[in-house]
């Protein structure tokens, strides 16, 4: 049991170490999105196609939200009054719907790559 726990913690440490030494990140285009009253602002966000995008999402509500998109293959929690960064693309031209998983009735939006 103790050796098991030791090997488990070793494995976790190794993985974490490998991940922390990751290269620096860069994107060519920055886009911003806000969450207010469980809605996205803007609800339709235009971004360039064929470019790597850094998307900043600011949650102005006091409650947590989860930014999620099946089309973009992304999901990330953003706490109340918090901001997250999500890297996207380069995307093909098209429409990519996204939603707030915790308030799906209102938190709906679409990313349009042109």
């Amino acid at each position: 049991m103790i050796t098991a726990i030791k090997s488990i913690s070793c494995a976790i440490l190794l993985i974490a170490g490998a991940l922390a030494s990751a290269p620096s990140r860069a994107a060519d285009y920055e886009a911003k999105l806000a969450i207010r009253d469980h809605k996205f602002d803007p609800a339709e966000l235009n971004v360039p196609a064929g470019t790597k995008i850094k998307l900043l999402i600011e949650n102005q509500d006091a409650t947590p939200e989860e930014f999620e998109s099946n089309e973009l293959n992304r999901e990330k929690v953003v706490v109340g009054k918090g901001t997250i960064t999500v890297y996207l693309g380069p995307l093909d031209a098209g429409r990519y719907p996204f939603f707030g998983d915790f308030h799906q009735e209102t938190a709906q939006g679409v990313l349009v790559a042109k």
Binding site: M1, A4, I5, I8, A11, I12, I15, A16, L19, A20, A22, P23, R25, A26, A27, A62, T63, P64, E65, E66, N70, E71, N73, R74, K76, V77, V78, V79, G80, G82, I84, T85, V86, Y87, G89, P90, L91, D92, D101, F102, Q104, E105
Partner: protein
């Protein structure tokens, strides 16, 4: 209440599917229930902790703490499943023979259950922390205690029920093939979790995508549908996988398969040829 129930159901379902496979893979092992129970309990406690420190985790490592955390626990689960699957490949036939001989009660319960306890705990922790954050938001925005409690009850009962369905379905597999079947399921589960980990590392821009969408089968089966989500959890189905995810999937699957062949093939044969008393 229905909205709450639905979200809780989706998260509980994902964890329940993984727990079901683990339960099937440890069929007949003494004290198995206790190990799985501890795993669930540790997962629930962990989920509450992770939810409490959500903003700390989110801000860590210049904003990619959440992705690194998810990828790390997912890869830890992959390592644990791989260990168990390879161990079972070398002892599974022995177990199946014994189960037939003594009517389901295996005494040689030397399986590395600690590895699977970690897998169960991680599954519950990942889905549970989202539930906790969601419920905290519901409570903070003034939803009543009764609809929240009702939603939790609906979601948990529904999710666990589907988990039991899968478990009893798996028990229907003939004993001859049972442990090799659960072993292959564990292999696919691990490969899927590795692919999810790669997805988080791409999202954090730690790893290149190697092609954002290698294919798009969302018209056939979308990631958002219940079936898509179920297969996503069980075998790592993705309607629009990135190249790096496929690479992680293939490497994990072949590494475990190779391990099962290397260590499994040799040590299980003598037990088969040995006449059973």
């Amino acid at each position: 209440m229905l909205g709450t129930g639905l979200l809780v159901f989706r998260e509980v379902l994902e964890a329940a599917l993984i727990v079901s496979i683990v339960c099937a893979a440890t069929r007949g092992v003494p004290a198995r229930g206790r190990w799985v129970g501890f795993g669930v309990l540790a997962g629930v406690l962990g989920a509450i902790l992770v939810a409490c420190f959500a903003s700390v985790i989110a801000e860590a490592v210049s904003g990619i703490g959440q992705e690194l955390f998810n990828a790390t626990v997912l890869l830890a689960a992959v390592v644990m499943i791989a260990w168990h699957a390879i161990w079972m490949a070398s002892h599974g036939k022995e177990l199946a023979t014994q189960m037939k001989a003594v009517g389901g009660a295996v005494q040689a319960g030397k399986q590395p259950l600690s590895a699977l306890l970690v897998v169960v705990a991680i599954a519950v922790l990942r889905e549970g922390s989202e539930v906790v954050l969601f419920l905290y938001g519901q409570a903070a925005s003034g939803a009543g205690a009764l609809p929240i409690a009702g939603g939790i009850a609906l979601g948990v009962v529904g999710g666990v029920a589907v988990g039991f369905l899968l478990y009893f379905g798996l028990l229907g597999i003939p004993m001859r093939y049972f442990f090799s079947a659960t072993n292959w399921l564990m292999l696919l589960l691990a490969a899927g979790l590795a692919s999810q980990a790669a997805g988080f590392l791409i999202q954090a821009d730690v790893l290149p995508a190697f092609g954002n969408r290698v294919w798009d089968s969302s018209a056939l089966l979308s990631n958002g549908s219940l079936m898509g989500k179920t297969l996503h959890t069980l075998i790592g189905y993705d309607a629009q996988p990135a190249g790096m995810q496929l690479l992680f999937y293939a490497i994990t699957a072949s590494a475990i398969a190779l391990g099962m062949k290397l260590w499994g093939g040799t040590s299980s044969r003598p037990n088969l040829s040995r006449p059973t008393a």
